[in-house]
Subunit: 131 residues, 2 copies
DNA sequence: CAGAATGATACCCGCATGGTATCATTAACC
DNA sequence: GGTTAATGATACCATGCGGGTATCATTCTG
């Protein structure tokens, strides 16, 4: 039951680094040591963040990445969605068979409630909070 | 980010079945159809519940399993601990390097808070609620 | 003793996660 | 314009784990 995976962890650290650095762009080479991860791996993460519109990317010499929004507009929930996929605790593993059993449905209902409250919590954590 | 895995799901359904059945013991053969899982697999789950003291086991002809406590004393949290291992959202993947970076520590702190509230929620769901 | 049940354990398999390698593309600077 | 420094895209690897099966041992009933 992992809440966040490594991608999210590294992304949070990288974004925090970027939020603190007062530069127009920050390259992967500048981040990798502080973030504690290999360059290629961090690049892959940054590319996903770029596709998701969370960071800008500037190619070429002197280029790098920059946050596309204010740090207080980037939430942990967004990072999880981008890097871990849709957030469904409540994934029904039984298909249509499920609703033949009332007990299981009660369980789904309980979990759905827990899920919604959990999502509200991760949505409340921003990069600004971490910086 | 799965909250519960299939083992927990099946266990919850099996225990719910047992709680409703007014019998001294219930065999795997009697449960497997209703729970919707193969006999051998359900047996493995029941054995773990037995080791954890959640159910009694009676070997031999006419034997089976019985709940070892009242249904309102068996929580979703207990099932998760037994069948999924320790509940740590907050697993630090960076070892001692972590605390060199303040940002990461803030993240841990946030997640720890979320975790404790989540655990309180799963501890509040009992088999009685599902039955 | 036979049959019905659990106990224990070993094994298998597919796939997601974590990580690397490679080539293409773009832009700055000399 | 060529070199270099950066990202973009993609393919690949490898290993652990979740989910599931099979087999034999043990225990109890009748």
């Amino acid at each position: 039951m992992k809440l966040i995976n490594r991608d999210v962890d590294y992304a949070a650290r990288a974004l925090t680094f970027m939020a603190r650095a007062n530069k127009p762009t920050v390259s992967v080479a500048q981040m990798q040591e502080q973030v504690g991860v290999s360059g290629p791996f961090l690049r892959k993460i940054m590319q996903k963040l770029h596709k998701a519109g969370i960071v800008h990317a500037v190619k070429g010499k002197g280029g790098g990445f920059a946050m596309a929004r204010n740090p207080d507009k980037v939430t942990l929930k967004q990072l999880m969605e981008v890097l871990q996929g849709p957030l469904r605790l409540n994934d029904c593993v039984f298909g249509e068979k499920i609703c033949q059993r009332h007990a299981a449905c009660v369980l789904r209902h309980k979990i759905a409630g827990i899920e919604s409250r959990l999502l509200a919590e991760v949505a409340a954590v921003t990069i600004k909070d971490l910086a």
